[in-house]
């Protein structure tokens, strides 16, 4: 009994610690800029709605409205997540179910790209994108990022763990490769796909360096990358507008949180027990 209390209070403490920066952001977002000079009030103020209206509507001078940036982020995150899932499902399916030359080599190559962080290939990827005149477009935000070794690997493991007799049964029933994919493999993979969608959506939403490098036109600014622009834009005021920056930060947090909450059940099931 006592031990359980100890454990619970420990967990509570950790949760509070994690929530603290969020609380600070909430306080900053709900006060007037003057209240934030050199101190942080203990309690939230009453200007949250006003600040929300400001950033969503007009935005800060010199930068597009936050609504537009949120829209850009949504396009980018959805594009990356769906693109990754499509590519990864198809390549995992090919690697597991088709016998083609260098099949194993292909998989090892995909897998070894796991070791390389994204930033390693920024320079060549940038060159290619520039050569294709893709800079400053939604295309450049999405297409170079949709190859995913992680998703391919997880889905390969999933397909490989399905009983081989399922394929035999489908062949006896007269299903071709595409029919087996659409009628059996894809519906069975919906749990891991849902889990991967959450992961990759958050990954896409949080991209910072790549959009910063490839888009100079403010029309394509995403919210995570645009926030640093807000801090700069804020300095053109007499006072730094931390209230507006923090309001934007809170807004930027919401969509990934929403996706995670909505898909929580699938997310956990997809990463823990593989349903067969």
């Amino acid at each position: 009994m006592k031990r359980q209390w100890l454990r619970r209070s420990g967990l509570l403490l950790l949760a509070l610690l994690l929530a603290l920066p969020l609380y600070a952001a909430l306080i900053a977002a709900s006060h007037a800029p003057g209240d934030l000079l050199g101190r942080l009030p203990w309690l939230p103020g009453n200007r949250l709605l006003h600040n929300l209206r400001t950033v969503l509507g007009a935005g800060l001078p010199g930068s597009p409205s936050v609504l537009r940036m949120l829209g850009n982020s949504l396009v980018m995150a959805l594009g990356i997540a769906l693109g990754k899932l499509t590519l990864a499902t198809l390549s995992a399916y090919a690697v597991v179910y088709f016998r083609f030359p260098l099949r194993h080599t292909a998989f090892v190559l995909i897998l070894s790209s796991l070791m390389l962080p994204l930033e390693v290939r920024f320079y060549p990827t940038f060159q290619v994108s520039a050569g294709l005149h893709l800079l400053n477009s939604y295309g450049v935000l999405i297409v170079p990022l949709i190859a995913s070794a992680t998703a391919t690997f997880l889905l390969r493991q999933f397909f490989a763990s399905m009983p081989p007799s399922l394929l035999d049964a489908a062949r006896m029933d007269g299903a071709g490769p595409m029919q087996f994919f659409l009628h059996s493999a894809l519906p069975l993979a919906r749990t891991p796909l849902a889990a991967l969608f959450v992961l990759e959506f958050v990954y896409g939403w949080n991209q910072y360096l790549w959009p910063l490098l490839t888009t100079t036109d403010a029309r394509y600014a995403t919210v995570v990358m645009g926030m640093q622009g807000l801090i700069n834009a804020g300095t053109s005021f007499a006072l730094p507008r931390w209230d507006l920056v923090m309001t934007t930060a809170l807004l930027a947090l919401l969509p990934p949180l929403l996706v995670l909450l909505l898909a929580q059940r699938w997310f956990i099931r997809g990463l823990t027990d593989i349903e067969k």
Binding site: L166, D168, A169, R171, M172
Partner: protein, 356 residues
């Protein structure tokens, strides 16, 4: 309905041979069981008939036409798998109708066939459920339903009962036999369980090490095993196999430390040579005037009968006695008689049956 003919069908995986060239004819409507220990090639053979593996040589004919080059779905056959292989994300009704939908049958025809199978197998209460919500026996029944809605020329069963518990296995065995009786479809059934093979087969094919040891009705195979392997594989408990020797005159068989047994058919050609003597457990009968003396090591009671594990000379054998109570105790010695008609002789090296 159709005949099935195999001509010199073989299968190699790289350098390893999984099936030596094998020929077999299955008559229209016949129920044939392929039986053997794991790795004997019976599943490989079945998968080649199904079209899931391609043979390295030979020809497979279903209903008189060669199907070697045909896709599994074009062969007009249906298969029931060991782990059922039902589509987990489809309801029972969808599982049953999937193959028919792929064949683009008319909706009314699909409904008619599914309803017929559902009636036949009693699946009505399960139609809306997913395979994950069914018990092992129910899944087995759905898998059979999925096979019969296709109204195939040939049924293939790949160890369909081995995932079920013993009681359910007996029950489903009877159902499969009744199903075959009602539909009369040609059936090839693979199992490693000799009881299943004996009870289901009209003809059984005993396989070992990638080749056929014997083909025959269960009665033939039991009464006249073609080799020591078949003798030791069939029966529960299986035939006792004792190292023995033919006497110098070729008229008796000698087991070390025991009285010679007269042969009903003398073996002058093998006089003095080593042989394997096969004796069914029920062929050794306790008899106060018996010729052999055996030592009881262990007594197992099966209710209606007893299994006596005994030492005969330096070797061991099992006796089956139809009695409910044992007058003997472990450690006793016992005299038994052996009927000369019950002797099976096999070549000690090749294991082949010697004519008697």
């Amino acid at each position: 309905m159709a005949t099935l003919e195999l001509y010199q069908v073989c299968k190699r995986f790289g350098a390893a041979s999984a099936l030596t060239p094998t020929s077999l004819q299955v008559a229209d409507g016949e129920f044939v069981v392929l039986v053997g220990p794991s790795g004997c090639g019976k599943s490989t053979l079945l998968r080649m008939i199904a079209g899931l593996e391609s043979p390295s040589g030979g020809e497979i004919r279903i209903g008189g036409r060669c199907v070697n080059a045909q896709e599994p779905s074009a062969r007009d056959i249906a298969m029931v798998f060991q782990n059922y292989a039902l589509y987990p994300h489809m309801s029972v009704r969808e599982n049953l109708s999937y193959a028919l939908k792929l064949r683009k049958l008319e909706r009314a025809e699909i409904t008619r066939r599914v309803d017929w199978a559902v009636d036949l197998l009693g699946l009505q209460p399960l139609l809306a459920r997913k395979p994950g919500e069914l018990s092992g026996g129910q899944r087995q029944r759905v898998a059979m339903g999925r096979a019969i809605v296709r109204e195939p020329q040939l049924f293939l069963f790949d160890e369909p009962l081995s995932n079920l518990d013993a009681r359910l296995r007996n029950h489903m065995r009877v159902e499969i036999k009744q199903l075959h009786r009602r539909l009369g479809t040609t059936t090839v059934y693979v199992t490693h369980d000799q009881v299943e093979a004996m009870t289901l087969a009209q003809r059984m094919v005993v396989m070992n090490h990638g080749r056929i040891e014997q083909v025959g009705t269960p009665e033939e195979v039991y009464a006249q095993p073609a080799s020591a392997f078949v003798a030791g594989f069939l029966g529960a408990p299986p035939m006792n196999l004792l190292a023995a020797r033919v006497s110098a005159e070729g008229t008796h068989v000698l087991v070390e430390d025991l009285a010679p047994l007269p042969l009903s058919a003398p073996q002058p050609a093998r006089a003095g040579r080593a042989v394997t003597l096969g004796l069914r457990p029920e062929a050794l009968l306790p008899d106060v005037d018996g010729c052999w003396t055996v030592t009881l090591n262990l007594i197992e009671s099966l209710g209606g009968e007893m299994l006596l594990h005994a030492g005969v000379g330096k070797q061991a054998c099992v006796l089956r006695i139809a009695t409910t109570t044992s007058p003997w105790r472990e450690g006793d010695t016992l005299r038994v008689n052996v009927a000369s008609t019950a002797l099976h002789l096999f070549d000690a090296d090749s294991g082949q049956r010697l004519p008697s």
